[in-house]
Subunit: 316 residues, 2 copies
Amino acid sequence: MDRPAEFALIRRWLTGMDQGAGVVLGVGDDAAVLTPPADRHLVMTVDTLVSGTHFPEDADARDIGHRALAVSLSDLAAMGATPLWALLALTLPSADEPWLAGFVDGFSAQARLHGLALVGGNLSRGPLTASVQLTGHVPAGQWLSRGGARPGQLLLVSGTPGDAAGGLALWKTAPSPERDALLARYLRPSARVALGQAALGVAAAAIDISDGLLDDLAHLCEASGCGADVQPEALPLSPALLACFGRARATQMALRGSDDYELLLACAPESLPALQRAAAELVCPLTVIGRFETSAGIRINGEPLADTGAGGFRHF
Amino acid sequence: MDRPAEFALIRRWLTGMDQGAGVVLGVGDDAAVLTPPADRHLVMTVDTLVSGTHFPEDADARDIGHRALAVSLSDLAAMGATPLWALLALTLPSADEPWLAGFVDGFSAQARLHGLALVGGNLSRGPLTASVQLTGHVPAGQWLSRGGARPGQLLLVSGTPGDAAGGLALWKTAPSPERDALLARYLRPSARVALGQAALGVAAAAIDISDGLLDDLAHLCEASGCGADVQPEALPLSPALLACFGRARATQMALRGSDDYELLLACAPESLPALQRAAAELVCPLTVIGRFETSAGIRINGEPLADTGAGGFRHF
């Protein structure tokens, strides 16, 4: 591909996506120039998807675009932040225009949904990798962190965990309504941005489930200096997951499976009604599945886990 | 590699690098929480290095760490911005601790030099790729852009362009003082951050040389809506480049070679003394090599280039 065509590709790819709050100078210079919102803290994160590691090599470009943005949005959601600006570093084996059009389609639909401006990008040749850096904002002095859970608080999960693991397990199987629904939850996760924002000032702590519910709960407990007891029978398992795998395996997927991008929240019992009202307004399932305790570590109905780190997604 | 070891690796890797101006919550949660500086615009950029595309596959980890940060710093330099925060997305084939220690060593030395805090990171398994997102700041309403050059202004270049191309051409040759000096300029470029800051309010436009002097000058001219005439005999060629390649080839390398990460600046004649004084204080070579003109396109001593886009680095 010659050089002018490459620049045309970059221009077409980014056109119209760099408009948004605080954007003074968007795409096209050495860097973007931005006005931070007044009286707010900024929240920043970066996440990378690697082909063959974080999604199947034959996944659809549109889904990869959706997912690349959703996994980073999920980090903002876990902080209670409002999305603001994105930078996208995309590495491609070749300048495949139809592929790029699909990727941009999936990416930009998510960006529009969350009011996010794409203010910078980098397009390189190499193995397929998409790295998305996001900036969001929270009211000054107010954000959700992993470190706020305290003994006696309730443990809640959004959505129906395990669906993503179920979908991935059915990747190569024949289409069916249940299989397709689960696969969509793996390929096109919905970052719980609105729930995170609603939980600001109400929930005590939050983390998103990327590695697996028990693994991420262990991170939250470690950061909070407490432990937790989980009641697996309270897990909100989706009808599709139950239909495809049965209760025992579905429960394991909900506890151990990765890639759900749901939120785990800690909440004082007296704040539960307010949190549940907020979730109901957003039509977002939110379920109490356990309780935080003084004693460190994770327990399942009071029984300590042999290895809280096992079963989740491994980066290495 | 088991999961606790991976987390230990990430922690060790990032420890102590997340301290800096405006950092409220550094590494360890779902995202960082930051306070933007008052009365400033933020400047954001992202750049990616891919092994085998942007550096030789057998390059030293320390040099890759240095270079991954320097190429993004160069974008901030071209805007006149002061570096503030970095996020690093690193993809590695395996959890090779000595490699990672070397990379961090090279990266953190550059970060310290420029007062940059590493506020977020992502470590994935996959082909070697390093993507660095940076945030800097400029006084409100004041930044260098590509679009400010006007006919009659002077064209200046920092440092000694062509050295990086010369170094890369000598990658597999026997060590010598000249070859080693040139190779260091390719592997460990010095982003001209201080020069960019000093040029704020003095220079009219800026761009960094990543694709090659003529290619990047063409971008600057296009954004500014003017043309330029370059005098190759005015190019500041380094003694090492002249010794290794002779004047004719050294001149071609300076005009066409990529990866210099020097700055091209546009400056009104009456502002030249102030700009040269600032560069002298920084001990940074800064040389007038041409002039901006009304007529579009790039000329070499008045002769139009057949193809201004040729010879630079191609991403595809």
